[in-house]
């Protein structure tokens, strides 16, 4: 079976890649595209470690076919920092030790960024609800939730 040729945009850059019809977007990111920041935790949409933005909407890249990326806009954890300058969420996760092993971290960051873009002033409950599909098996959730809430507060101050 011939491979499919896919033209897409990833982190603002036009990209092309080849994939099998049943490859997931996560397969393509971690394989031919060599963007290994998105992780595979469960491969069934439960853990959120593979979270990406598809046309500005948060999705699991393990639940999306790579072929679907054609003509769409994909954003991954690799597009979050501006060069050497970390995104405020990334900086805050470091400062507040909101990670240990790091497997869940890129998904947590992508999902948290999506939340703050939609809701710059989330309550703790809203953060926990939004991140219910991002599993962490070491830090626990408290530090992560607090880091997101603090970042939101910092970003609101910066915006003023």
């Amino acid at each position: 079976m011939a491979k499919l040729h896919v033209s897409t945009t990833i982190n603002g850059e036009p990209m092309e890649f080849l994939c099998e019809p049943n490859d997931t977007m996560l397969d393509a990111l971690r394989g031919p595209l060599a963007l290994t920041g998105s992780k595979e935790g469960c491969a069934s949409g439960d853990c959120g470690a593979c979270s990406i933005m598809l046309d500005d909407r948060l999705v699991c890249s393990c639940l999306m076919l790579a072929a679907e990326a054609e003509d769409h806009d994909i954003r991954t954890i690799e597009g979050m920092a501006q060069g050497e300058r970390l995104h405020p969420l990334q900086q805050k996760f470091l400062e507040m030790a909101a990670l240990q092993c790091g497997i869940c971290t890129s998904g947590m960051l992508v999902a948290s960024d999506a939340l703050l873009k939609k809701n710059p002033h989330p309550s703790e409950e809203e953060v926990r609800f939004w991140l219910a599909g991002n599993l962490c098996r070491c830090t626990g959730y408290d530090k992560i939730v607090r880091a997101v809430l603090e970042t939101a507060s910092d970003m609101r101050e910066m915006a003023q």
Binding site: M1, L4, E20, P21, N22, T24, A43, S44, G45, D46, G48, S51, L54, R57, L58, V59, C60, C62, L63, M64, L65, A67, E68, E70, A111, A114, L115, F129, W130, L131, A132, G133, N134
Partner: protein, 289 residues
């Protein structure tokens, strides 16, 4: 390794042709949140995947001239939630659709996929049944409309004929004093599969219930329309006697299984409790309309 093909047609006619040509090995993909998991586990090995998201009718939310809604089968939950009017008119349907999976899953999962996946525990299905949704399907021999409660055939099975594709849900116009609600019982707070799910849609006039429909999930091989429960509500002021009778009708309709999520006895009891709670929420909302 078997060959697998992926197509993403722009028109329904093309999709129907491709799907029919693919035979029993063809699968329709909307959000893919069930299909990709089934492929990964080896439960399904499609020879052809027909992605329907490029078909505008499948992804449109339309408020019809008579005040009803037509929701494309592939509209993701997150998109439905952002519609300025849908959640005001059908809050129960919306809360049911939005209970499917995480934020990430909501970005993709659709009510159409939830229905066609055929799970007795699909959250959107009892609410759609309560709402009286009519589904439009299209296949090689044309289009037809089916009441949504006639779609499920058993666990993992629907009454779609070979080659037929679910296109949209039509929700009827709402008379004043109408609303709906959906509740599900799960042992956790989020991200779980319903032990029991209950959808209630009703209309109140001067405090009297003039119309009601009840959908009940996860308590039988298919999601159920419980007409006896609706009958107990209609004509009443939703007093305790009427709610108890409707709850008892829901419990009586249960033909559940024992599994790790709940026993037969538990599910049967909870079905009655949920009916009462769901009807109370729908009634409170209806009074504000």
């Amino acid at each position: 390794m078997t060959d697998i093909r992926y197509v993403s047609p722009h028109t329904l006619d093309e999709a129907v042709r491709a799907f029919a040509a693919g035979g029993s090995a063809a699968r329709i993909m909307a959000g893919g949140t069930d299909l990709l998991v089934q492929m990964r586990s080896g439960a399904v090995r499609p020879g052809l995947i027909v992605d329907i998201k490029k078909i505008s009718e499948m992804t449109a939310i339309e408020e019809t001239g008579d005040g009803g809604f037509r929701v494309g089968a592939a509209v993701p939950g997150a998109v439905l939630a952002e519609h300025p009017r849908f959640g005001k008119v059908w809050p129960g349907v919306l809360e049911a659709v939005n209970l499917i999976g995480s934020t990430q899953v909501q970005g993709r999962a659709s009510a159409g996929g939830n229905l066609c996946n055929g799970s007795p525990a699909g959250d959107s299905v009892p609410a759609m049944i309560a709402a009286g949704a009519i589904v439009t399907v299209q296949g090689p021999s044309g289009r037809r409309e089916i009441p949504v409660e006639q779609m499920p055939a058993g666990p993992g099975r629907t009454n779609l004929r070979p080659g037929e594709i679910l296109v949209s849900f039509a929700l009827p116009p709402r008379p004043p004093g109408s609303s709906d609600a959906y509740l599900r019982m799960i042992p956790r707070t989020e991200m779980d599969i319903a032990v029991v799910g209950c959808g209630v849609s009703l209309t109140l006039k001067n405090g009297v219930c003039t119309a009601a429909r009840v959908g009940l999930g996860a308590v039988a091989p298919t999601v159920l329309l419980v007409e006896a429960a609706a009958k107990a509500l209609i004509g009443s002021k939703l007093d305790d006697a009427a709610l108890n009778a409707a709850g008892a009708a829901c419990s009586a309709a249960c033909r559940p299984i024992d599994d790790k999520r709940g026993t037969i006895a538990y599910r049967t009891k909870v079905a009655g409790v949920l009916l009462k709670r769901t009807a109370a929420i729908a009634a409170k909302r209806a009074k504000e309309n």
